[in-house]
């Protein structure tokens, strides 16, 4: 699986919610695209990740 351009371990069906949490992301402040499509937050727990998936995760920070 690729996340933000880097090769990562096979997620073996882990949910996006769990993967984000284990990798230190605060899901209230992320926008995530899986294979080019944005995944809404309510679908994070129900989205199972595969080794072929390509993720882009944006972690938003305060300020603007």
């Amino acid at each position: 699986m690729i996340a933000n351009g880097e090769r990562r371990e096979d997620p073996k069906g882990a949910s996006l919610a769990d993967w984000l949490s284990s990798n230190g992301y605060d899901s209230k402040r992320t926008a995530v695209l899986v294979n080019g499509e944005v995944v809404p937050k309510r679908d994070y727990p129900g989205t199972a990740l595969r080794d072929t998936d390509v993720l882009e995760i944006v972690s938003f920070v305060g300020g603007g």
Binding site: K28, A31, L33, V38, V58, F60, V61, G62, G63, G64
Partner: protein
């Protein structure tokens, strides 16, 4: 009868009744006339205390955009640009895009102008207490008479985002709160077909060489340094906020030109 005016910066006692006659006597051949900050014509009557500016050039707008890359003037004259948040990022992005030639903005912010905004937001002391969308409209129309602003004095939610920004050619994400930024990205990408340029990370006084442009996807570009500040609320100052706003404005222009060339 003599009338005291200022013409191209110089005090003049004029006997002309209208600006056309004044032009013919002082600046013959100058087809562009601005009086008291607004475009005027030869038939506009002269008034005591008026400030007048005569210029050569084909027309007001092309003279104002003379230094633009012509592709920029062209795309911005047609584009409808949404700006979510008219604080430090949004108010500065709005000015830069309007100066570059943007004429149609859809702006949303539920806030009013406050003293703590003055260190970075594009408002003046006389704007204090006004809704930001109102103050911005006044300021932007002082910069360009061609601009039309659709104002939304509301809190943006996933439900109203498609309605507010659905007709835009591009949306600028200029919120302050991280969770609101995430909400907008999901709503714009998930519920509309509109591309988005987001500002993410501009706090403090660290070197701006940490600021970058990340093309996350064909429809999402994120500008800034992506770094949280150590403090809550984050320390935000004009130089880095405007640096980020400048990067965002440039990316909006680049995206619109790219879309135009397809």
């Amino acid at each position: 009868m003599m009338t005291r005016l200022t013409v191209n910066g110089v005090a003049v006692d004029a006997s002309s009744e209208d600006l056309g006659h004044l032009r013919d006597s002082l600046f013959p051949g100058c087809g562009i006339i601005v009086a008291d900050g607004k475009e005027a014509t030869g038939r506009t009557p002269v008034r005591e205390g008026m400030t007048v500016f005569f210029s050569e050039g084909r027309d007001l707008r092309s003279e104002m955009l003379k230094r633009d890359d012509p592709r920029v003037a062209e795309v911005l004259s047609k584009a409808v640009i949404g700006i979510a948040g008219m604080g430090g990022l949004g108010s500065n992005v709005a000015e830069m895009l309007v100066r570059s030639g943007a004429t149609r903005l859809v702006v949303a912010d539920l806030d009013t102008v406050d003293l703590s905004n003055m260190n970075r937001q594009n408002y003046a002391m006389r704007d204090l207490g006004l809704p930001k969308v109102e103050a911005a409209e006044r300021r932007l129309r002082e910069i360009s008479p061609f601009v039309r602003i659709e104002k939304h004095f509301v809190r943006l939610t996933p439900e109203n985002v498609p309605e507010v920004f659905g007709r835009c050619d591009i949306v600028v994400e200029a919120f302050d709160a991280a969770d609101q930024k995430a909400m907008l990205a999901e709503a714009v990408l998930g519920k509309t077909r509109v591309p988005m340029v987001s500002g993410n990370g501009m706090a403090g006084i660290g070197s701006t060489d940490s600021m970058g442009v990340r093309r996350v996807s064909g429809r999402l570009t994120v500008c800034g340094d992506g770094r949280p500040d150590g403090k809550v609320p984050p320390r935000l100052m004009s130089p880095r906020v405007c640096a980020c706003a400048g990067i965002m404005s440039n990316e909006v222009i680049r995206k619109l030109i790219e879309g135009n060339e397809e």
